[in-house]
């Protein structure tokens, strides 16, 4: 389909204007993180660009510790989700047994329970088993996801049944088939789920706020909230520097995985 020149111009104008408006807050944050507080306070254009704000965020705050915590928490959740979702999806596709239907509906039912509505007993559970301020308290409650299981189930269904039959003839058990055939074949979907899992874990807010009481395992999101509530009014540059550091890993991941994510979201969502 070719487009007339005039139509192309209209689209480019629409695209550019939308992109500019939508991206403006982010650009503003990046520019402010490089400005002197004097320039910010007087509301003038940056007279010079400096890195002092970034140095200050790292000096005044255990930001490195927070970043490390966030990385550990996000990676552990991501791996846990991939593992549990793929095992569950495998059972739903390749294993036929009584009660499968029921378990499938049980998985669907979990999607109807919002985490926010069950946060009180979850907090008590984690507190009572002594998991406050631990990595396991921050990660394990999020390992099992119905979304992940459905996304992978969709993908596993496309693996030809003949492959399983052939492997059975070769004397391959279910677990070996899962590990050596299904997982490699479904790599692309696993990556999609991984990107989604990392993004959502990195950006988690309510649970880390409740389940951490000190800096030892606190994630960077809560660190940013602290920075925001403790900094003086004239420290906007430092705050923006903190915010920019927080979004860099997820933005990079999003830019690299945007295509996969978009495909995965529609597949997992609709079928």
């Amino acid at each position: 389909m070719t487009m007339s020149f005039r139509k192309k111009i209209i689209f480019y104008v629409l695209l550019s204007v939308s992109a500019l408006i939508l991206f403006a807050p982010t650009i503003m944050a990046v520019v402010m993180s490089l400005m002197t507080s004097q320039d910010i306070l007087t509301g003038s254009a940056p007279s010079r660009l400096i890195l002092d704000n970034f140095i200050q965020t790292f000096e005044h705050f255990p930001l490195l510790q927070f970043l490390l915590n966030s990385f550990i928490v996000s990676i552990v959740i991501t791996i846990g989700q991939i593992l549990l979702s793929s095992l569950a999806a495998y059972a739903f596709v390749f294993l036929e047994f009584k009660g499968r239907e029921f378990l499938f509906y049980l998985f669907i039912a979990t999607m109807m329970v919002p985490f926010e509505a069950s946060v009180i007993p979850n907090f008590h559970t984690i507190r009572d088993i002594g998991w406050i301020d631990t990595y396991q308290g921050l990660t394990i409650p999020f390992f099992a996801t119905a979304f992940g299981a459905f996304l992978l189930r969709q993908n596993f269904k496309q693996i030809p049944k003949e492959l399983r039959e052939a492997s059975q003839i070769a004397g391959m058990g279910h677990f070996k088939f899962y590990l050596t055939v299904v997982m490699p074949v479904a790599k692309s979907s696993l990556v999609t789920l991984g990107i989604y899992g990392f993004l959502t874990s990195w950006n988690m807010y309510l649970w880390p706020l409740l389940s951490t009481t000190n800096d030892s395992v606190r994630t960077v999101q809560i660190g940013l909230k602290q920075l925001q509530s403790q900094e003086q009014l004239n420290q906007w540059g430092v705050m923006m520097a903190g915010a920019v550091i927080v979004i860099i890993p997820t933005l990079i991941l999003l830019f690299l995985g945007q295509k996969k994510l978009q495909k995965g979201l529609t597949e997992g969502a609709l079928k």
């Binding site: 992109a19 925001q228 997820t250 978009q262």
Partner: protein, 314 residues
């Protein structure tokens, strides 16, 4: 014994044997199935089903500050909630918030997805920008907008000043606060909604457009007659997810307004959080959580009911 009866007998033995093997196979499969699903089932039980039941249970009690039940009060927590003008106001704010954020998010994202689905040079760049807010956490987004809303230095009031309009207390004026939080939320949610809708647009069969082109159909005709109807399942999904997300809003409230001014932005999840973890009224907080749960259950049920019907032409 005649040949035929012998054959029948061995057949019966065979059948019995086959039955037995099948039964054993089924048992084995059940065991394996449960084994593969066990990790998920255990975690769902511990962190989804048990807490849900426990929340309902707690909602009938008063508790001490560490969450141990003290007095059974029946429905009193609920009655008190619906008698409390503050809670009713919170519910009202939550619904208003849904109304402010969901249509705007979906319409803007739909517009962006439509213009970004054209096959143009450099379109990948625009798609990346449009989806970027999905990578921006609620804490970071709130910091960005906190500055934009700043009464003296903020960009928004600077703009108003330059055209001679009185500055607005975006986050401190009861008339504006909920709207300001909504704008932040719309901005944050565009990235995700855009990606979902773009995915939906790209899975529409291009054959439909080609035959419309042969008929000489115009751009807006195709948009109305092909794109929107074919996109309806995705659109429906996007709307439901947006509504559920709006009900679950917490982070931006916690950072931008703390529920103020005058409880204008005290949305339900924030209200639950305050009641449970600031006031330590776990019983009453649980009753609020049950109300939230029922609202979301209702919406999800509609999603499944209607979604099922619409999925056939995917």
């Amino acid at each position: 014994m005649s040949m035929s009866s012998l054959a029948i007998q061995t057949n019966e033995i065979n059948l019995e044997y086959v039955e037995q093997v099948k039964k054993r196979q089924r048992m084995k499969n059940l065991l394996k199935g449960v084994l593969f699903l066990l990790p998920s089932i255990i975690l769902f039980s511990a962190f989804v089903f048990y807490p849900m039941i426990r929340t309902i249970y707690l909602s009938f009690f008063l508790t001490n500050t560490s969450g141990v039940t003290t007095v059974f009060v029946g429905l009193e927590n609920y009655i008190n909630l619906f008698k409390s003008p503050i809670f009713l106001k919170n519910i009202q704010s939550t619904f208003l918030f849904v109304l402010y954020t969901v249509p705007a998010t979906v319409i803007i994202s739909l517009f962006l997805a439509i213009i970004a689905s054209e096959k143009l040079k450099g379109i990948g760049f625009f798609r990346t920008i449009f989806s970027s807010t999905m990578g921006i956490s609620v804490a970071a987004a709130s910091v960005f907008w906190m500055f934009l809303f700043n009464p003296t230095m903020g960009l928004l009031n600077q703009l108003l000043k330059s055209i001679g309009v009185e500055p607005i207390g975006w986050l401190t004026d009861p008339n504006w606060a909920l709207l300001s939080v909504s704008v932040t939320t719309i901005w944050m949610n565009i990235g995700f909604t855009f990606l979902v809708l773009l995915g939906g647009l790209q899975s529409i069969n291009s054959y439909l457009y080609e035959s419309a082109d042969i008929e000489g159909a115009g751009y807006f005709y195709k948009l109305r007659r092909i794109t929107i109807p074919m996109l309806s399942p995705t659109l429906f999904f996007a709307i439901t997810v947006s509504i559920i997300n709006a009900f679950q809003t917490f982070g931006q409230i916690d950072i931008l307004t703390q529920g103020g001014p005058q409880n204008e932005t005290n949305l339900i999840v924030y209200s639950i959080y305050r009641e449970a973890f600031v006031n330590y009224q776990f019983g009453s907080a649980s009753a609020q959580a049950v109300v939230l749960f029922i609202m979301i259950l209702f919406l999800t049920a509609i999603q499944f009911k209607l979604g099922e019907r619409k999925v056939h032409y995917q």
